[in-house]
Subunit: 345 residues, 2 copies
DNA sequence: TTGAAAGCGCTAACAA
DNA sequence: TTGTTAGCGCTTTCAA
């Protein structure tokens, strides 16, 4: 274990002295060693090792103007924030990708409307090189904030507004919600179902709208009485199912916009003695772990790779940060979905 | 003084020039304005405003040796990490407190054993002023890591090992698990229950052990056949309940070490037609939202203020960072618990 | 290929 | 109370 004089840590100067080279050469070696002769590289490396040298991050940032940190902004007023496995998996993916690129994750939790100022200030304060944000609602102020802060930002989920004409489009990563929904509904059709209902999510979330659009793509002659609205929670799914059953006792299938609502719907069907999938087939969305596997019966659903989405968000941002001014901005990414067949449909 | 070129942000130099003062005075104003005459303060403030000046964080850190950032280290191999409402609430509290003190939260997720090196390096790399860590298991490597990194750290949950003699004790924040358990069990006694069982958590977690100790405090003549071990999950609670019922069909109460397990236990009791609380009274721990309220019957449980604990962790760390070398280290904090009576006991 | 030297933007002695 | 000045530790021209 290298000596660590309490208080002051060794500087590059010390390393250079120990290796018998100039500070400039030491710096070159520490930053990859390009254009430095082998023996000198080795000498410096040894000195680094012996001294236990760690570069001073602030000093480096001061001259390079790169902080090596990225903000993850989460604006979700509800308690859900983290307990939502969605976020947690997304963050895992982000964390992995950032770590692999020696970039730090600064977490910015928006606690209330008054926080937007604070966030804006922080984002434009040069603390981070870029930001990753989750924009779930159409009226989300986050896109405006990051734009105002003038900081490169990648969104998780398609933002709900359209950019002004001539304005650069906002890069985002999202699952193929519409395509996934289409596959789900088509599957029910292939099963011979004829009155396929839909339990949708909140209309102010783009993912909910996209899934509804996918449903409509297949069921062009869709009957509005077959559609009910939920809030992506178990309870709201149960309520919506009861509502649909009342309105359309003849329905023979339901495509539910997420697994949580699907589990609520299944409960209601079970309570009423309606056999799944014999009488009513059910397909969910997300393949949420462990919910989807443990429903009764296990849920057929549309899987999306949430952790992968997080990783992609980070990768996209890192790429934007790396193109030093030149080159076109990378496009948004839509990740594929796949139908996972279990027992409910 | 030439206007700052578009793109690069205004420096303190520019502010000083605009206000017609020296850079030092401008700096003083930006940092609180102590000992600067009112009119000058105003001038500088106006210049700051007009120029949209934001201090360069790296430059400031370089000289003050304070980063204004704190790491939150989470080492939890399982997926649970964030989906566990425990963490999410704790982080909320931490975030609130740090934000109130203009301190940033850098999230460090430990993805695997190989990550410990990376974390150690980061922690000793001067990126952050201190760390908050969650140490849940007795064999947790985190305490050793933060100690090796020589960085002030506050733990969430009592660490499982005892400091070497002469070594400074590790500051931590924890709920009064033992006291809470005592109150819970005493409540069951007061109800006239005589064969009070216990479903405990994993023995490698101090919270589980402390709750078991509390149970024992009241039931000095405790019968080992009345104690079963779970893993803090719904399923494990159900299993443990079944096991207890088999071993001791005569039990008339159960104190369960957390609400998740309690909900599993309630399910088993319901399935077997055992009336709660008439035949078997049940008390949980945590008052986890929304679990405790929505069990059937609603759960009597021991509440702890998890968000408050997070806030305390941050406050404790901030205080340690503020005492500039002198003064005694603040002690650990044990937060109170309280019994919340609902229908199950 | 290497080194000398000029800052990056800020704070904090020390002087005035 | 205000200004002058010397760095904080590093990268990066520019010369050698």
């Amino acid at each position: 274990m290298p000596e660590q004089s309490p208080g002051s840590r060794p500087t590059l100067e010390a390393v250079a002295a120990r290796a018998g080279v100039s500070r400039a050469t030491a710096s070159r070696v520490v930053n990859g060693g390009d254009g430095v002769r082998k023996p000198l590289v080795d000498k410096v490396l040894r000195a680094v090792d012996e001294l236990g040298y760690v570069p001073n991050h602030a000093a480096r940032t001061l001259v390079t103007r790169r902080t090596g940190a990225v903000a993850v902004v989460i604006a979700e007023p509800e308690v859900r924030i983290f307990s939502d496995p969605f976020f947690s998996q997304q963050i895992r993916g982000i964390s992995k990708e950032l770590t692999a690129h020696d970039t730090q994750l600064v977490l910015l939790l928006v606690e209330g409307p008054g926080d937007f100022d604070r966030i804006t200030r922080y984002l434009s304060g040069g603390h981070v090189d870029g930001a990753l944000a989750f924009s779930l609602h159409t009226d989300d102020p986050l896109p405006a904030i990051t734009r105002r802060a003038g900081i490169p930002t990648v969104f998780g989920g398609r933002p709900g507004w359209t950019a002004d004409p001539g304005e650069r489009a906002v890069p985002y990563v999202d699952a193929d919600n519409r395509g996934g929904a289409r596959v789900a509904v088509q599957h029910l059709r292939d099963l011979g179902r004829e009155r396929i209902a839909h339990i949708g999510g909140p209309p102010d979330q783009t993912s909910a709208m996209d899934r509804l659009d996918g449903y409509r793509d297949v069921l062009l002659d869709m009957d509005p009485t077959l559609v009910a609205e939920g809030a992506f929670t178990v309870e709201s799914g149960a309520r919506a199912m009861a509502e649909l059953l009342e309105r359309r006792p003849d329905l023979d299938a339901v495509f539910v916009a997420n697994d949580l609502m699907a589990s609520g719907a299944l409960r209601v069907l079970r309570e009423r003695g309606i056999a799944v999938p014999e009488q009513v087939a059910v397909v969910g969305f997300d393949d949420m772990d462990p919910v989807a596997k443990e429903t009764d019966p296990p849920l057929t659903t549309v899987r999306q790779d949430i952790e992968g989405q997080g990783r992609l968000m980070a990768r996209l941002l890192l790429r934007i940060l790396d193109r030093t001014g030149n080159g076109a901005a990378p496009d948004s990414v839509i990740t594929p979905t796949m139908l996972v067949r279990r027992a409910s449909a």
